[in-house]
Structure formats: C-alpha cells, structure tokens
Amino acid sequence: MGVVAAAMPVRPRRRLTGIQSPAENRGPFRPGHPLETNLSARCLAVIPARDEVLTVAGVVAGVRAAVGCDVLVVDDASTDGTGRAARQAGATVLQLPIGLGAWGASQAGIRYAVRHGYAAVLTLDADGQHLPESLPSLFAAQQRSGANVVIGTCLERLSTAKRIAWRYLRALTGLRLRDFTSGLRLYDEESMRTLAGPEASLLDYQDVGVLMLLASQGMRIVETETPMKPREIGHSRVFASWAVVARYMFNTTVLCISRLDRGHRVATLAATVKS
C-alpha cells in the first residue's frame, strides 16, 4: 500500500474535505441551536447522477454559485464519463461500482456527509430540472419552520395521472404532502442520521418509503414551492412507462400497508410552508 502511494505522482491538493475524527464529526450544530442560521455553509449538496454527462457540470456550477457549499456528485455507475465531468466542474465524486438507483446513490452521499460531519444535506437531480436560484429558499423555509426535512415542490409539473397517484398515496400513507417524488430536498443532521442507517438501504426510491421512515422517527417534514424547469434531457425514472408505474404503485402500496401505523401516527406533523 505504502509503496503504491509513494509511487503515485504528487498532484496539487485541490480541496481539503479532510477525513475527520469521530470527535470532530459532532460539530456545534444541534437542531434548534442558534448556529442553525448558518446552515448553508456547512451543508453538502448531494447530486445522484447516472449518465447525465451533458447536464451535470452545469448543475454543479449552479449549486456552487447559488449556495457556495461543497458539492458531492454520486456517480451511479455511469458509463458516459459523468464522474469526470462532475470532477472537472469542481465537485467531489463518489464512484459507485454497482448501480444502486437514485435513492441508493443519494444514501451513499448522505452517509458520506454524516461521516464527514456536515450539518445538512441538500439533494437535487443531476438533469438540471431544479433551478439553482431556488435553492436558498429551501434554507429559508428550514429556518422559518425549524423542520427536519424541507421538500422543494413544484406543482405545475404534476400531470393528471400524477395528481391521482399522489391523492391515492396521501390517503394511503396519511402523509400530508403534495409531491412525494421530488428529488429537491434539504435534510438536517437528525434526518441524515435516520436515513444513513441500514433500515433505509432496502428502499428503492426516495419517496414514500423514505418519507414514512422519517415520519416514523418523529421528523418534521415541510414543503416549499419552488419553480422548476422541464427536464432538458432524460426522463423521470419513476414515470417512465405504464408498466413501470403499475409496478411502482403496487410495490408502494404493499410497503404502505405493511407500515400503516408509521405514517398515520405522525400525519399532523407534516405541514406546508408557503414561500
């Protein structure tokens, strides 16, 4: 090992996202602590990306400009050089050797953030549908509401089919949310720890299962309306075809029925923040 490391060419250190000891991991931030106001500075933006080479660099640059936080792109076993493009744009890159899907990639980023002592995680899609200018509004909503999770919701993009699906999921889960699949989210330290655990590892999507897990742990979830661009390239992984939708709805229904107690117990905690 040592020999290999010594033989490697020495390159300039680009950024020190150093590995911190467990003691350092417990930063001064606590939910409700005054330091919370500076959340965006100690936040890690996590961008799960699979084959998004055309858009990922722009998204990374946009986030760095809008929030100024560290950016982590989780390359979900892309084959088109997404990881390299993200690195060139100034992001730290996790290279998953096996594709884990959007949620598996996001969770890798959250686990990285927990390990490195970040106080919050901001997730967004790599396809450019979330506008960087709208990111600060999530921090503002977090500060106003003191919630553990803020979801950036875009209502215009919901088609009739989606509206019906969401109405059904709302009834089934008891979660009073308007958009279950939005990839634009802000997690605080407590919710990060909840999601970094093994019980979140078998979930396939970041939607209902993740939200119900959070709710069951007493996390407060709020939504804030954010403008959204239509996808430039690519398409929703969930709403790809009717067969996929049917399978998704069936799996989600089974998941919900097996955990009915969780969502309903905390239904009153979910609220919407108007911005």
């Binding site: 290999v4 680009r14 950024r15 590995i19 088109d80 990881g83 290279q95 890798a108 078998l202």
Partner: protein, 132 residues
Amino acid sequence: MLNAQITAAILGIALGGAILYLVRRDHLHGPFAAWWLVVAVATLALGVFPALVIWLGDLTGIRYAPVLPIIIALSFILLRLLKLDIDRSRQERQVRRLTQKLAILERELDTLRGNGTPQGSSGTRTDGVDAD
C-alpha cells in the same frame, strides 16, 4: 418392477449421498447442507416406512393418506423459497451498503493520497493501482 419402498430408499440415499458429496467438494455451505440432509432423511423414512404416512394421515385427519407426503413436500418447498427471498433481501441490503462504503472509502483514500482526481472513472482504469 421395483418395490415402492426400495424406490424411496434409493431416492433418499442418493439425495443424502449427493449432499455429502457437494459439501465435500465445497459447493454447499454448512447450514444449507444440514437442511438438505434432513430432507433426504425424511424421504427415506417416509418411503421405507409407509405406515408412518398412514399414521400421520390419521393424526391430521387427512382421509387420503398418500397425498400427505406431497402436501408436506410442497409446504416445505414454499417455506424454503420464502426463506430464500428473506436471505436475498438481507444480502441485497448488505451489498448496497458495502457498495456505498466502498465508494466512500475509495474517495477518502484518494483524498489521503493528496490526489484530487482519482484514477478510476466510469470503468476506464488505466493505472493499475486497483489491480493489486
């Protein structure tokens, strides 16, 4: 014409022998081998002593006793399949977490080496560092 008892005995012994052979060749892992040996012994016992089947039929109230071994066999196959899926879920969880941990550690290793741009990218490894 073989006697049904002899047929069952041959099946049971062949199954038991095959299991032991697979364990010997390291193709089958301990607890799984134990399960299959139990199956072999049950086949042998039920085949060689048909009275057992009739006795079990009386006990469970199943009038047509010969169907009993089939019911028992099907139930065990279902249980086994269920157990298999449970194990697969557990392994899937482990694989996912290991994959994530691997990516995180690889990233940290590169940082420790003072190397901002890791060699591996989208499967195009050229330096051979990961090969040793």
